[in-house]
Point group: C2
């Protein structure tokens, strides 16, 4: 049975890395001894080893061990044999490029649908949408495609940020950017605020966390949805 947590962010203000997710990590991976970590997104350009060490420190608080996918000779085998998978945040373009280069994009979908528990934060959540086209990241590398895993039948915008009414900045707001996306694409986009996550249990998709999320559907005004909302039929 599919079990997944798709979190907007790894870290909340004034908290440690993954701190607010520790109880959920314990529950998600309760049958695993070691979880496979996919560190390809390398936030701020840190190394795969540094990133894995950082994630291991957080997972230790849930009584779990992580092993970085780069420590395996065969990344596809590592995915196939994983007792659980966690994909960390960073740059989505880099993450998607590496998933394609290592030929594991579709494989992750297969094993997760088959029951391997999955958690993503930020970029690791972005890739579970239909495409990576609602990322906030810079295109620092040219991936072979923008198509992603599609664990959910819509797109996700992590770190969703409301327009600041006092801002004097003229760069596009997040809402305007998503409107531009809907000029060319039809799937719904869920703007996940930091602290929210999407929970997958079997076929059921539910909004979790303390905050409402903002839902963008093509040719509709965006609207708020409360935590606990069933998103299973959103597409």
């Amino acid at each position: 049975m599919t079990k997944a947590i798709l979190a907007s962010t790894s870290t909340l203000h004034n908290q440690d890395y993954l701190e607010y997710l520790i109880p959920h990590i314990k529950e998600l991976y309760k049958n695993a001894e070691e979880v496979l970590f996919i560190p390809y997104a390398r936030p701020g350009g840190i190394s795969l080893d540094e990133y894995t060490a950082k994630a291991n420190e957080a997972f230790a608080k849930a009584g779990l061990k992580l092993k970085g996918i780069h420590e395996f000779r065969d990344p596809a085998k590592a995915v196939e044999n994983a007792e659980g998978i966690f994909t960390g945040g960073g740059n989505t373009f880099l993450l998607v490029s590496e998933l394609y280069r290592n030929k594991i994009m579709n494989l992750i979908k297969t094993v997760v649908l088959d029951g391997t528990p999955y958690m993503g934060t930020s970029a690791g959540t972005n890739i579970t949408g239909l495409t990576m086209q609602t990322t906030n990241d810079m295109p620092i590398i040219y991936p072979p495609s923008f198509k992603t895993i599609g664990l959910v039948p819509f797109n996700i915008n992590p770190h969703y940020l409301d327009p600041d009414p006092n801002s004097e900045h003229k760069g596009e707001t997040r809402e305007t950017r998503i409107k531009e996306f809907h000029g060319l694409n039809s799937q719904p986009v869920i703007g996940l605020r930091e602290g929210s996550w999407i929970e997958l249990v079997g076929n059921k998709i539910t909004l979790k966390g303390n905050l409402p999320a903002r839902l963008f559907e093509k040719d509709k005004l965006p609207y708020e949805i409360e935590s606990g909302t069933d998103l299973t039929d959103l597409n």
Copy 2:
């Protein structure tokens, strides 16, 4: 002789569209009667016609007329015959896709180096760097390449925004994103704050406007450069 204005933004807080640039527009296009407008970036998804009408209203204040490139049967001929070119802001992925689709990416470089005066704002400035990889925009469409015109031998980040020391948001700052870019790419990036522009006159490249800009070079700490700084040898 090359003459170009590469502006961070079209619009300043509490001003009309292009208002602060009107005197410079007058000077740049002083030998033109009609300027070719490239509206492909369609900010907020507005139509090519709506966008052209909006830009025409602003150019009228400089005593100039604009004609949208979509009004010509042959976009390449329109570029070749233009007395001046203005590329407006919006979504850089869409702009780059359309420039490739219409086979005018390199042609714009050729005519501008040959003396056709050019102005870009935001996305229209982004495409004058070596690549579009330091855009802030969402990847709403998959372009055939991230390579852009390269009127200047570096990359540009328009709408550059300093980190907000009071922010509780955990999404990457602009500075972190550019650092991630430099993990994989070597060219310098100039962070152009709103109100700044880069002026090209012949071979000379100069920072203009009232504000300093922020310069990012690979493996160096970012630093401020004053308006008036000669950027000709930056690469």
